[in-house]
């Protein structure tokens, strides 16, 4: 995060992604839908995935949209419009729930369980090359 703040322009994909993740912490704890603020577990895991993926990808790291689910898990969505494809990384609220990654291109879609940074990197590179 220090690297992002000190050397990256404020509009770079990694800076935007990190800012969006941090912004989640500023939300109310709950809303009408459920838990709104991310759990510590989800936040730490999402940050680790993003920072480690950026360490390898550098400027190829694409910008993600960040949100929380109703339990305080974090959902990171990487989208591409042409061709329309998406990678979603879900970091659950609790440590006893596994993270997973969903990817979709046209009618092809699947879920990767037991996600590692390596798996995230594979699918982000896939998104970049689609």
């Amino acid at each position: 995060m220090i690297v992002a703040q000190s050397t990256r322009p404020s509009s770079s994909p990694i800076t935007v992604t990190l800012k969006r993740l941090v912004d989640l912490l500023e939300e109310d704890e709950t809303d009408e839908y459920g838990v709104l603020q991310p759990s510590q577990t989800a936040f730490k895991l999402a940050m680790r995935f993003v920072v480690e993926a950026y360490d390898v990808m550098g400027d190829r790291f694409p910008k993600a949209s960040a949100s929380t689910d109703e339990e305080g898990g974090i959902r990171l969505t990487w989208s591409k419009l042409e061709p329309e494809c998406e990678v979603r990384l879900i970091c659950p609220a609790q440590t006893d729930q596994p993270a997973y990654l969903y990817h979709e291109l046209g009618d092809d879609y699947a879920v990767e369980r037991e996600v590692t940074v390596y798996i995230l990197l594979q699918w982000l590179e896939w998104l970049n090359q689609a």
Binding site: E32, Y33, G34, S67, E70, L81, E86, Y109, V111
Partner: protein, 123 residues
């Protein structure tokens, strides 16, 4: 409980976007996040456009960051259904729980998001 006739395919329903994060900041499009079933939720809550304006739909909630419209026929084309249960309300039925069929839940949420048009946002 009162029974209602099946909604026609050309009926429109509104989904209240209760979180600003449900709208992609970069594209302005609705994200899959808006279309997941929570535990013990039989269907997704929607309102009927025939009796409820987008603003009236939004006003049903404490905070609403947008209203998305869906065509019932489009929803049926992906194997789901919309069933009316009160004068102005319906449930979007057939979505799997993430706990049961994770990939399908993600897929269908994404398809519903693609079908969605944001028809109202707070000024």
């Amino acid at each position: 409980m009162r029974q209602f006739d099946p909604l026609p395919d050309d009926a429109t329903v509104y989904r209240a976007l209760l979180r600003k994060q449900w709208i992609n900041e970069d594209t302005g499009k609705v994200k899959a996040d808006a279309y997941f079933l929570r535990a013990n939720e039989p269907g997704l809550s929607v309102n009927l456009a025939s009796v409820c304006s987008p603003k009236q739909c939004a006003d049903l909630f404490r905070k609403c960051y947008g209203v998305a419209s869906l065509e019932v026929g489009d929803v049926r084309q992906i194997g789901l259904d919309v069933q009316q249960d009160s004068v102005n309300h319906a449930n979007l039925l057939g979505l799997p729980y993430r706990e049961d069929r994770l990939a399908e839940a993600e897929r269908l949420a994404g398809l519903l998001a693609k079908q969605s048009q944001v028809v109202w946002q707070p000024g």
